[in-house]
Amino acid sequence: MNPDDDLVRDLERAFPRDESGLLRLHTRLVDAAQADGVLDVAYCTTDSPVGPLLLAATELGVVRVAYQSEDHAGVLQVLADRISPRILNAPARLDTIRRELDQYFAGQLRNFDVPLDWRLSTGFRRTVLAHLSDIAYGHTATYAAVAQLAGNPKAVRAVGTACASNPLPVVVPCHRVLRSDGSLGGYLGGPEAKRTLLALEAAA
């Protein structure tokens, strides 16, 4: 129909998509954003025995670890809404946490010591999560015991909610919290992931 059709098609061919050029330019963008101090959130995904994990960090520290079942795209959108939309896939900032996770899953690391950014957790939930590190590697505690640790023995259900909304699973060990009857209880990464982590820690 359009007399320009051939020319337009040739024009599109004369300037094809350049995937390798884009990769190079993406790296350059990440480096420049990092250097200018405007990379508010850097993220990457990493494989693990409990499935692909999304890792995200602000300049303060690791802010989010997410299981695939939590929907990585949805998690990134929440980070955009709650922290900043200046988010790039920038694995370099996650090098330390990735190395520590690899060591943890190899049974060679008992305590994570990367800086954490706690901003996604507030109030009593944050108090609860902060006390989870009191449960030593390879040990477990009941929701009731954690409520006691957090200074509010009656808030057993709130402890469950805090664990279910843990923004930093694996690193902040909500998998070490079990029901009073010894059963597994819920887990945001699914019961299989919880069993895997507990078995790993028991064996190491």
Partner: protein
């Protein structure tokens, strides 16, 4: 609520198109610089962008300004004498150019820009007029003039090839 997708999705969605546009209006190394400056500048300003903005038009607007900056910076640098275009291009036969990218690069800047923004980025002339400074009709005319020149200078490999293929 100012809901915005993570900027990574902006790069994934529009990075390729903006790079093609930069390469259509600039030479290759300048195009990479213009792309880099466009996306860094966009990244910084992104939180303030109204959530109903046309992201691609916004990016092309920034790229347009960055391309002008890059071209100005280049024109201030000394140019080797042999890079001056030769005057043989005046003659009708020498004017024909089988390399469409090169034929496009020889168009006046505004024609090159409106063709890139319309045919490669798919922007309507109303947006393009605002980007290059002028009315939508003026943008449409500049594109038509540029296309007319290309139809004269570029012999068109597809049309010739197609006629020989079964």
């Amino acid at each position: 609520m100012n809901a915005k997708v993570p900027f990574e999705r902006v790069v994934a969605g529009h990075g390729a198109t903006v790079l093609r546009v930069c390469r259509a209006v600039l030479d290759a190394s300048d195009a990479d610089d213009a792309w880099s400056e466009t996306f860094l500048s966009a990244f910084k300003a992104y939180p303030e962008l109204p959530s109903d903005a046309n992201v691609e038009a916004w990016l092309v607007t920034i790229a347009h300004r960055k391309a002008i900056d890059v071209t100005r910076a280049r024109s201030r640098r000394p140019i080797p004498v042999q890079d001056v275009p030769d005057s043989r291009a005046e003659s009708e036969t020498d004017d024909r150019d089988p390399d469409l990218a090169h034929a496009l690069s020889r168009l006046p800047a505004k024609q090159k820009q409106v063709i890139a923004y319309h045919y490669l980025a798919g922007l309507p002339y109303a947006e393009i007029g605002a980007i290059v400074g002028g009315s939508p009709d003026a943008a449409r005319r500049a594109a038509a003039d540029g296309i007319a020149t290309l139809r004269r200078t570029y012999p068109g490999p597809t049309s010739r090839k197609d006629s020989h293929e079964p």
